[in-house]
């Protein structure tokens, strides 16, 4: 055991550091900020789902916000109408959304990449109006207000014992989200490096060869849709918990785009990518809307456009910059930098045989 700890590769230590950081830092930031970070982690979970679909199985979705909406409404209806404990509804919402995603994946098999993109986009477009229809169930345009979050006594006591202050509901939501993120990222990490994930990656890299190796292409493609939707469903459900209120406007088309941008920016087909992507997708529009107006060198028309159009412009600019300078996202950039450093340290003797992956974030 000790031996294993001592020989663990550096990235395992990095994981430990990151987990400890996310566990500890809500105690030193304000409750409001903890609430913001919960939202960033919620996006990270949804982006991880999207990453399993796009990054690992090679299918594009421009409509994952629709699956978040489904999960959120599943939870809200179960909690509001059927008086279930909200925490219990989260995994149920995830499973239901997963099933919907799986069913959506079946006809999606018949579509080429372009038409799949269009079909998922259409799903995101029609979702808000679909939600509005069954007014009795979904509350129509009014949406559903959820019962206030109750922090369990055990969590309160534990938090007070460790930090000396009382736990706010935002902090509680943060920790629930963090726990889900931890488990779901761990599951994804296992999935992609074992048999089922290997099959998905094989399909992404070449369907003919994958089929010749005995991989059931349609089976794994729909499976990827299902798992991906399950992640989005849980993220949607957590979003309801975090905001306390959901309506069709909570899930605009731009949410789906936000998820895709986050997935690409963080780095597709990587496990840390969605975490970075989630943080990025949540904070970038907020930060840039505050920062841009303070910059005197930016022409005033551009400032006005950015402030008015908000996220869309910022996302667009960042996406273009990344495509040029870091096609493999933030994780790709970091890995390339790390490899360059290691090569230099190892010296010229090894350079010949030191094969550096051109696409290092496969797992």
């Amino acid at each position: 055991m000790l031996q294993r700890i001592r020989t663990a590769p550096p990235r395992y230590w990095l994981v430990v550091v990151v987990v400890l950081f996310f566990a500890g830092f809500p105690t030193v930031i304000s409750s409001f900020q903890a609430g913001q970070w919960a939202l960033a982690l919620i996006l990270a979970i949804a982006i991880m789902g999207l990453n399993i679909l796009v990054g690992y199985s090679g299918q594009l979705s421009l409509g994952h916000g629709a699956f978040m909406a489904f999960g959120a409404y599943a939870s809200a209806i179960l909690a509001h109408r059927y008086k279930m404990d909200y925490l219990v509804t989260i995994p149920i919402a995830g499973l239901l959304t997963g099933m919907v995603g799986f069913l959506f994946g079946v006809p999606a098999l018949r579509l080429s990449a372009l038409y799949l993109a269009l079909a998922t986009f259409a799903l995101a477009v029609v979702m808000p109006s679909l939600i509005k229809r069954p007014v009795g169930l979904t509350g129509g345009v009014q949406g559903i207000s959820l019962p206030p979050v109750v922090v369990p006594q055990l969590a309160k006591d534990g938090f007070t014992m460790l930090t000396g202050s009382a736990m706010t509901s935002d902090q509680w939501v943060y920790y629930v989200t963090f726990a889900y993120a931890l488990v779901l990222f761990w599951l994804a990490w296992n999935l992609v490096r074992h048999r089922a994930g290997r099959a998905m990656r094989a399909i992404r890299d070449g369907e003919v060869a994958a089929a010749a190796s005995g991989i059931n292409i349609s089976g794994y493609k729909t499976l990827a849709f299902g798992i991906s939707a399950l992640y989005a469903g849980i993220a949607g459900s957590l979003l309801g918990l975090a905001t306390g209120y959901i309506s069709p406007d909570t899930f605009p088309v731009s949410l789906s785009i936000q998820l895709l941008v986050g997935a690409v920016v963080g780095g597709l087909a990587s496990i840390p990518g969605p975490l970075l992507g989630g943080i990025f997708a949540y904070f970038l529009p907020i930060e840039s809307n505050q920062w841009v107006p303070t910059q005197t060198w930016i022409p005033s028309q551009i400032v006005a456009t950015v402030v008015k159009a908000g996220p869309a412009v910022t996302y667009g600019v960042v996406l273009i910059l990344l495509m040029i300078f870091a096609p493999n996202g933030i994780v790709g950039l970091a890995t390339a930098g790390y490899n360059r450093l290691r090569r230099r340290l190892r010296g010229a003797a090894d350079r010949e045989s030191g094969h550096i992956p051109p696409d290092p974030q496969t797992v």
């Binding site: 994804a188 296992n190 890299d205």
Partner: protein, 253 residues
């Protein structure tokens, strides 16, 4: 009964007749060479056997099973593995992962067992890794296991593809130009390797190849295609003397 039986197989693409009622068979434990000028229909024949294409007419029986009724991913489960003329490796994956994909049918853990890491699935995973490493050792690439496959030289990638096909323990191996595009020294190495696949692993082979010395040296029988038609069949020396074959090759050259 023959291990593989191709009966009156025909297919055309638009106006091009790629295969014109071709029949032949491969007995168990034989090496059969399949030769013919470019565009003769050799790759198309492989693509029909592995269900990439549907035949227009005719049948393919493998050990009595009509292959043309199987789904593409079921073919290997019946014991038919293949390599590709222009390499079809999983380019973003490592050598080991590529070969482990070839082992897919010998393990059965599903997505949940993969994600939650169930002990049974993890044992299957290490057994699979062990088999993959053994096969990599057999083709002389054990030291390359953790390398990203795309960074390796072309000739080495061809051996990775061979390893990926072998790890499934096929009864019939379809090899599409295993020595195509590789250097002279590598051609000899590949030839020795394929002999060992035949003698040590006992795999029956249908071999498409342009290096005549290579095919004639290793094959028990040779089938010759030209413009989708079978123009000759027999043992290597018969085929080499066959006027129609000489004509086809001279005409093509």
């Amino acid at each position: 009964m023959a291990l593989l039986e191709v009966r009156e197989l025909a297919v055309s693409f638009g106006g091009v007749v790629a295969l014109d009622h071709v029949s032949f068979s491969v007995e168990a434990d034989q090496v059969v060479g399949l030769i013919g000028p470019n565009g003769a229909g050799k790759t198309t024949l492989f693509n029909i056997i592995t269900r990439v294409y549907k035949p227009g007419a005719g049948a393919v029986l493998f050990d009595g099973t009509p292959v043309t009724r199987l789904a593409p991913h079921e073919v290997i489960r019946h014991g038919v593995a293949r390599t590709f003329q222009n390499l079809a490796l999983f380019r973003s994956m490592t050598v080991l992962d590529n070969v482990m994909v070839g082992d897919h049918i010998r393990t059965r853990s599903g997505w949940l067992a993969s994600s939650v890491p169930m002990p049974a699935a993890m044992n299957a995973e290490s057994a699979s890794r062990k088999r993959a490493l053994e096969v990599l050792d057999f083709v002389g690439l054990a030291a390359r296991a953790s390398h990203p496959v795309a960074t390796l030289p072309f000739g080495t990638q061809k051996r990775v593809e061979l390893a990926r096909a072998l790890v499934s323990k096929p009864r019939l191996l379809l090899l599409d130009e295993p020595a195509g595009g590789i250097s002279h020294e590598e051609v000899d190495g590949m030839s020795r390797l394929l002999r060992r696949v035949h003698t040590e692993l006992g795999v029956t082979m249908l071999l498409v190849e342009h290096h005549m010395g290579f095919v004639m040296g290793i094959s028990d029988r040779v089938v010759v295609l030209d413009f989708g038609k079978k123009i000759a069949e027999g043992n290597p020396s018969e085929v080499q003397r066959n006027p129609a074959v000489i004509e086809a090759y001279l005409g093509a050259a």
